[in-house]
Every structure is written in C-alpha cells, then in structure tokens.
Symmetry: C2
Subunit: 429 residues, 2 copies
C-alpha cells in the first residue's frame, strides 16, 4: 500500500508535508518525497490527511465495555459493590469475548492499535483481539483479597497457562503480561510469588494499579509503612519492566523509584476525573524523564475509548491542576499516546512513522473546519481534533478500519451480541 501526497507526523514528532509512505507486509518500507514506481496494490490519496503512529493504550479493561453507562453518578464503593462486582460475577466466556470485540471495534475507530489490557477470561480476550487484527498486551489480573494460601489461587495457574499458550501469539500481536491487580487487593506472599514467576520468564511486563486514589495510597502506608510504589518494589514486582497505572498520588520518592527501575506510568486522565480520584501531575513525570503512557481505563469509568479526548483531557487537566498553562505540551501528549505506550508494551518497533518500523498507523482527516486555520498542526492535533477524525487504522500493515468500514469485525453482529450478552447478565442479577 502506498500513501501518496500525505502529511506525516514523523519520528521526531515533526510535521512533514507531501510525503510518500510505502507499506510492504507488516512494515513501513519507504518514506520519501519521490513516488516509488511500483510494489503496491493500493494507492491512498493522502491530500487533506495526516499519517501518524496509531495510539498505544497503556491501561485498559476491554471486556468492561459491556458496563458502559451502567451505574453512573454513584459514590465509588456503591458503584463497585452494587453495580460492577455483581455484574462481573455473572460474566462468562461469551460475554467477555463480545465485550472485548466491541472494545476492539471502538478502539480501531478511534485509532488505538494496541492495548495493555488487564482482566480475566484472558483466552476469550485474546481470541477477540486476534480475530480483530489488533494488538494487545493481555494480563490475567491476580487478586487475593482474603490472603488465601497460594495453592488455592487458581488465578496463578491460569495466568501461567495463558502465558504459555498465548505469549507472542498471532505473530507477536498478542503479548502476555503479568498483573498483580494492586497492593490493596492482595498480600505480600501473592506479590512475591508473582514476582518470582515473572523473573523466571525471559520476556514479560508487569502491569499493576498504583496509587489511583488517596485512600488506597494512605491505607497502604498504614498497612506496610510504605507507599504502594515502595511496597511493590520491595516485593520485587519492578524487577521486570513494568507499567504502573494511575499514580495520581505517587509522591516524589515514588517517582524516583519509577525512574530508577524504568517503570512506565500509564495515566488515565478521564477515568481519574470521572471517578473523582483526582488529577495526576504528568508534567512532573515528564520532567523526571519517566516513560509516560496514556490509558483509557475501562469504558465503565470513562466512558469511551476516544484517544484524542484522552490526550486533550490529560493536557488541560494537568494545566488546571498545576495552575500552569505551559504544563504538558501537545508534543508531550502525542509522544505518550504513541511512542510512550509502544515502549511500555515492549513494542520497540512501533510507535513512530519510521522506515523499518511495524506499520501500526492511522490516518487523520485534517481537512475539516475544526482543524483550520493551521497556525501549527501539532497544536490542532491535540487541542482541536475529534476522535472521529480518524479515518483509517492499520495494524501490522493490514487495514482494519477504513472510512466507516471494518475489514475484520462484523460490526452489526458485535453490537448485537454485546447488547444481548449484557441483557442476559442483567436478567440474572
């Protein structure tokens, strides 16, 4: 495939105009000013369009798309105990499959090519992701709220089986990460056992909820005399590459831990604001040189997978929080949304429009009124662009979404089955 006369956001996050970009197999094989003579079966007219890396979602729970708009405007504990947990208790393999497929459809519509996805029924999640053509780092979230003996934790074995069965499946589109759900939903024995297992693997990533709420952060200190970050480091969970999701209340010492251990912070600006958890000072994270990724969290607390919105809310939220209008530039947001997320997922060959990289790309319509005039296209990309200005999404060189059409997902069936799965669960409640 050849993108002709297209504007690109290059690997240095600069705008270049009137470029030709060729994709062969799953790679970007040419970027230049001269039109290649042949070697492509489709030529895409790039006038009025921008080509950039797809978005890498640093923290999600795809199957929870079934809970979109379910139980809104409730206090956190009521929402969890009266709505979310009872619904989750009724989930089954089919519901998780269709919830994940719906999330993949929405993700591809909004330009998300890969998601760090933490949940359970992971085989069903992987099946949906593989069929959709998207990528995901899927982790079986380990909880052990009662501190049960490890021998009684089926989830640990599930996780190991899932790793053995699916890690690097579908040509590497699926990666299996490890996940301790959080400090407050487990105990030290569980944390250390998981760290042991992760260290025994050549190649995995640890994905954990960290300091999402003030009470979680403070109760950890009361329990262990350590912040969540310090506790998790002590348990050995940062001995492998890791994603710390949220980090709204992480303090300066915590950030030093992330920095020294190479932990990525995945911030979830919309979800954190909507659940009234707070606002993460991402400027500080950027200033310290910590890798930053952006997550949507689940649709149950977002309630969409609109990554343009996520970038904008991250920047304006941090400006409001710090009182500093210069905080978090559009480039910072674009870097986190693409390269930062890809790096966090161990996908070093993705996240940039660069020759030799994987062709995980999106096309944005920049011809519309909301994108004009153009003083600076980078500013418009983050502050003025609509999520629905994404008009094409490509993963590993395959077009998965193109101007209203999905090539791999039966969208009518997906919406129908997701709705039906939801209704069946509600009937049982």
């Amino acid at each position: 495939m050849l993108f002709s006369n297209i504007t690109i956001l290059n690997e240095n996050l600069e705008i270049e105009k009137n470029k030709y970009v060729k994709v062969s197999g799953d790679r970007i094989t040419y970027i230049g000013d001269v039109k290649p003579e042949d070697g492509y079966s489709r030529e895409y007219d790039g006038r009025g369009k921008l080509l950039m890396s797809g978005f890498f979602n640093g923290h999600g729970h795809s199957p929870m798309s079934l809970m979109r708009g379910y139980g809104e405007n409730m206090a956190l504990q009521d929402w969890l105990f009266k709505k979310i947990f009872p619904f989750e208790d009724q989930l089954d393999s089919s519901a998780v499959y269709w919830g994940t497929m719906l999330a993949m459809a929405e993700s591809l519509r909004y330009g998300i090519v890969s998601t760090s996805d933490m949940y359970y029924f992971c085989d069903d999640m992987a099946r949906a992701v593989i069929e959709s053509g998207a990528k995901a780092n899927i982790s079986r979230s380990i909880t052990n709220p009662m501190g049960s003996p490890l021998s009684e934790l089926a989830s640990l074995n599930e996780m190991k089986e899932f790793y053995e069965g699916f890690h690097n499946a579908a040509g590497g589109r699926i990666k299996v990460d490890m996940s301790l759900h959080a400090e407050y939903t487990s105990n030290p024995e569980t944390a250390m056992a998981l760290a042991d297992y992760a260290r025994s693997l050549d190649d995995t990533i640890m994905h954990i909820h960290v300091s999402e709420t003030k009470s979680e952060h403070e109760e950890c200190i009361a329990r262990h005399g350590l912040t969540p970050a310090a506790y998790l480091e002590k348990m050995g969970l940062f001995d492998v590459p890791a994603i710390a999701a949220h980090c709204v209340y992480s303090d300066d010492d915590d950030l030093e831990i992330f920095k020294s251990r190479g932990v990525t912070v995945a911030t979830n600006p919309v979800s954190n604001m909507k659940l009234a958890s707070g606002i993460c000072n991402v400027q500080k994270i950027i200033d310290m040189g910590i890798n930053l990724a952006i997550g949507t969290d689940s649709v149950a607390s977002n309630n969409s997978l609109d990554f343009m919105e996520e970038m904008k809310v991250m920047t304006i939220g941090c400006k409001a929080h710090t009182g500093d209008p210069t905080a978090v530039t559009p480039k910072d947001a674009l870097r986190a949304a693409t390269f930062g997320g890809a790096k966090a997922q161990g996908r070093a060959e993705s996240g940039s429009v660069k020759e030799g990289n994987k062709a995980d790309l999106i096309v944005i319509d920049i011809s519309q009124p909301n994108m004009h005039p153009v003083h600076n296209l980078i500013n418009n990309m983050v502050y003025s662009c609509s999520g629905k200005d994404v008009v094409l999404t490509m993963v590993d060189g395959k077009v998965l979404y193109d101007n209203g059409e999905y090539t791999t997902i039966d969208i009518e069936k997906t919406i129908f089955e997701a709705q039906r799965s939801t209704e069946k669960i509600l009937e049982r409640l």
Copy 2:
C-alpha cells in the same frame, strides 16, 4: 419535514423511542406515536438516531477562530500581550466575517444552533451568522481600560447603532446583547453608562466576563472592596437579564446575587482548564437553582467548538474538583447545554423538543460502537458520544448541516478564506 421512527430526548430530558416528529415552517408541529398522513416533503429515517434540541452556546467569541492553535503553552499574560492582542489589532471586516463563518461551520457540525457571541466588528459577525442560517446573541464588547471620558468611547455608539440595526434581525435569529467586557477592563462610569442604556431598552441581555481568574477576582476586591459580581450589581448591570461568563472564583455571596437577580452563569470548562484558570463548581450553581449555561469560550483557548466534549469535561472536571463522583449528572449537562443556554439567550421557545417550539434541532447517530451497549442512553449521550456523532443540524426548521454537507455555507471557500485572512494578518505582524 418528518422525522420517522426516531428516538427523542423530550422536554423532560427523558428518552422516548419510535416517535414521529413533524416540522412545519420554523416550528415543531407534531410529536407522536402515529405517523402523520401528509404535510411534509421529506421523510427522515430516524432508526439508529436520536433527535434532541440543538446546543445553545452560552459564551463565545466566534471571530477568534482565526487564532486556533496560535500561541499555545504560554503563560496567560505572554499569550495575551505577545500573541492575541497584536493579532486582534490587525483584524478587519473581512477577517472577522470569515472567522465568524468558520466558527458557524464548526458550530453547526457540532450541533450548536445559537451562540452568545461577544466581540467587535459586530456587523460583520451578524452578516456571517445570518448567511449561515444559525442564531446568535451578538454583543459589542465595551472596554475602557484607561478610563477615558465616555464622549471619547466610540464603542458605545457602535453598540447602540448595532442594536438599532440588528436587534431581532433575520426573523429574530439575531439578537443584540449588551456587553461590558469585564470589571478589570473598564471603570465605574463606563459600567453605569452601559447599565443606563440597557435599562432604556425593552429587550436586551447583559453579557459580562466575571471572576474568570483568581487574580481578576482578588484585584477587584482590592480596587472596589467588592467582588466582581457585587461590583457589577452595584453598577446596575444586573438590572436587565444577564449572563455572567466563567464565575470560576465566584463565592457564595456572589451566587446569591446571581440567584436573586436571575443571572445565568455560563461556565466554560475546557477554556478554564486549558488556560489554567481553574475549575468552576457548577454543582453548587445547580444546587442553588441558578440558571446554568455552557460556553465554549473562543477557539483560541479551547481549541474547538465540540459541545459534547464541553459537556463531558464539565461533568468530569467538577467531579475531580469536588472529589465527589456524584456531582453533575448527565441530565444536568444536557439541561445546561440546551434549555439553560436557550433561556439565557431569551429564546424561551427553543431548547426543548416540544410541540410549538422553534425547530432548533439536532440528530445524533446512536448506532455506533461507542454508543453500545445501552444501559442508559442519557449516560451514553454525555459520557460516550463523540461531537462528530451529530449528523444533522436544523435551525428554525431549515436543515443547515446534513451528513457531511452544508446547505448554506460554502465550506471550501470558508476554510480557504479563513486561512488566507489569517496569513494576511500574520504577514502584517
């Protein structure tokens, strides 16, 4: 025109399915379960669609669309004095016309049917709004930073001429409001002269920036021993119906003034966050029964006119600010975006899907993945809908935007001329 088999958001902000809604002339003439036999030339297939009131933008500066993305990530004073004011000094009649037309195109795309629009070159603004088919309450913003004698203030005469020439023009689509820019950009004599003039008119609305930033609020107290709201009331500016824009730092006594004087608060959540001004506690405003409208402010500080985004950011911003996830419900947001804004603009026959009302309506595509499953469509409307899910915008019964096409605006010419006007100004700087 007949909307058939359509879901509606009715005047009580409840969802009703499979309705028929007939528009004759500029009015909604029928809402019911039975299909009318005749009296329409176009039948609109409403399956998978929702019909609701258009959005009423409570605070904007349309011509500033020319400054989209111009001078970002700067401290407020630098941004104003190095970028915005020098650019504004170069504006002319043609630039204002095309900037306004661009804003109208974007507004209609995002479902905004009417804007409370404060700026200057008001004749050119009115000309663009009239041609676009949209509605606006336009006010000539009065400033008098040096405290010049009133006889030297050309803006006061301009404003009077504009009122006489344009109030209720285009069948009432144009209304002329009064505007004192703000306390900090004028002096008491100017404020009182404007209040005198406003009281002399049968029918006008006062539109003022109030307590947008902490320093503005505090400096007013230092100058006058009164908050901006108390000062403006004392000057007589709330003797006519009024819109107080921003009110981020308005205190409890200020809110009592708004309540007792029937002043509308127009909150501008995206702009306030992006400029790091702060977050307005709109829940308190709602609790006190003050009329609430939502504004976009200008595209120079937003940087879009996406009203779905504005509603979502208002709700989640207030939840984060108050620490209360139950703050500001989706219904609160929908009410402010429609009925609250229409009421603020003195457009009592708009803002609801109701028989006899003006047909200022929008259609939303609710068939897409981001709107499923449906536990509660009202929740999805505010938290999950994309601005670009608006597929039709109608003002006074005329379709102005329909599935990618404008019926009144030459969109290519508008974008071209807006860009050219911008470049001509930049050349002169």
